[in-house]
Amino acid sequence: MLELKDLYFSVSGRNIIDGMSYTFEKGKFYSITGPNGSGKTTLAKLIMGINPVSSGSISFQGKEISSLSITERAREGIAYSFQQPARFKGITFRDLLSMAAGTDDEAMLLALLRRVGICSLSFLDNPVDAKLSGGEIKKIELATTIARNPKLAIYDEPDTGIDLWTIQPMVRLLKREQKEHGTTTVVVSHNRAFLEAADIVLMISEGKLVYKGDLKGALPMLNDLSVCNYRKCVGDKDVGCYR
């Protein structure tokens, strides 16, 4: 349902995404992992149209989308959960949820909150501003993504700032969305819980897709220090690149 063909994204002559080709299948759960700076978030942003492709193509459900705007891609059915969600002045969670769902009907918004589960009802009229904690704003981000009823949902590091007790419910939520709504799910994460939940793990290093398959097959590579982009690690216990 999503096909990347010979995809490049370059900045100042450096290929951040370096000739990537891959086809995502409908209804599958993908986890994208790899060292810091390997190009995971950049790839996610290319799919959403946040970054423009330098060359290559992205087709979604058979339609070439690489020249479409963020808005057009959203309307095609792609939703995106930002790693560092925007904060606003004067916009509440209710406002964002209404925009995402296309309705301000109270009953429908409450039903959405129940579907997401991890957001308390008391959140609804909170301003989405700098006063929210990192965890709270990530839950709001997740809820607005699910409220889009997307065909393809992209989550960039959804567990950032989330407490340990919420990570498993979050994984279960994304799996449930995948199963019940047939959502093709792409999660960019270093977290083992998301890697374990994935049908397919994709590993990126230096802008290239270096592995696709199950987690078991990825483990030797995840443990291999040679994938460290920064070449900082000098031993098994030294994780200078924080991968």
């Binding site: 002045k89 964002l96 925009m99």
Partner: protein
């Protein structure tokens, strides 16, 4: 009595569909149009006929008074002096606002000078909206002044809004706070085209335990200009905060000058100020929810000025 233009202006500046309930005073083109008083709220013209005195009895709770001004007479510059005496222990809402409808090339304007004396322990919420419209190209001027005196334990919450169409505005807000009193001011101003607005604010925290928070939200579109000056002077142990944010679009220009003056060692004064375009992460978030770029801009500004 109220024509279609009057009704539209009243709806915009005072959320009124026709005449309000309770006490009110509607002024049209420099003259009294209609007035009602209530058991606890008296309104009378002042001695020289240049405005009104609104007196609220001590202990008046959950009552409101509307005092809108509408202007549609070419060439008129209406100046009005209004005094509000808010009795001890009362809790009331005052809804003001001025709407100008300009239909000619001649200028029209209004200056409302409002003085509030808020008694001990009383609470007042003051809502003021300024708006101008009409097909005429005459210059529309609105120059409001508010002066607030808070007695011990009094609270004033002021929402001051200029929502569009005003070519020139010189806005002045002054306040003196007694012991343990609280002042919250939120001012929202939108300018576009070649409009100019200046907001000058002086808040004196005179009483021990007094607190003030001034929030300014400015949106500056087109070639318009806005200047914001706020001085907070602390004469006693107190807390004061100024928060001023401006969104600049197109070729808008803005000066923001917060000033804090501590004249007491136990004064705590803070300010935060920001001027800039709409943040790209905000635009991208709303576009990722299916809004177009223009819809996202409008929604962000709407929220910012809400």
């Amino acid at each position: 009595m109220l024509d279609a233009i009057d009704k539209d202006l009243l709806k915009t500046v005072a959320d009124l569909e026709g005449l309000p309930k309770g006490a009110f005073n509607i002024r049209k083109n420099g003259k009294l149009l209609k007035r009602e008083v209530s058991a606890n709220i008296n309104i009378e013209s002042n001695a020289d006929g240049s405005g009104i005195v609104v007196t609220i009895k001590p202990g008046t709770i959950n009552e409101s008074v509307h005092i809108p001004v509408i202007l549609s007479q070419a060439g008129l510059y209406d100046v009005v002096y209004n005094n509000f005496i808010i009795g001890e222990g009362s809790d009331v809402t005052i809804i003001a606002g001025c709407g100008i409808h300009c239909g000619t090339l001649e200028p029209e304007g209004h200056a409302g000078i409002h003085e509030f004396r808020v008694g001990k322990g009383a609470k007042v919420k003051y809502v003021e909206k300024h708006y101008a419209s009409g097909p005429g190209r005459g210059r529309r001027t609105l120059n409001p002044t508010t002066k607030v005196f808070l007695e011990a334990g009094a609270t004033a919450e002021m929402e001051l809004t200029q929502i569009g169409g005003v070519d020139e505005a010189n806005r002045t807000n002054e306040a003196t706070l007694g012991p343990d009193s609280l002042l919250l001011i939120t001012e929202r101003v939108l300018t576009e085209g070649n409009q100019k607005a200046v907001s000058a604010n002086t808040i004196i925290l005179a009483g021990a335990g007094s607190r003030a928070n001034m929030i300014s939200r400015s949106v500056i579109k087109g070639d318009s200009e806005q200047d914001f000056y706020a001085t907070m002077e602390a004469l006693a142990p107190c807390f004061g905060h100024i928060e001023c944010d401006a969104i600049i679009m197109d070729n808008g220009r803005n000066d923001t000058v917060p000033s804090l003056k501590a004249r007491h060692p136990d004064a705590a004064l803070t300010h935060e100020a920001s001027i800039g375009k709409i943040a790209s992460d905000q635009l991208m978030k709303l576009m990722s929810l299916g809004l177009t770029y223009d819809e996202a801009v409008n929604r962000i500004i709407q929220g910012f000025l809400k």
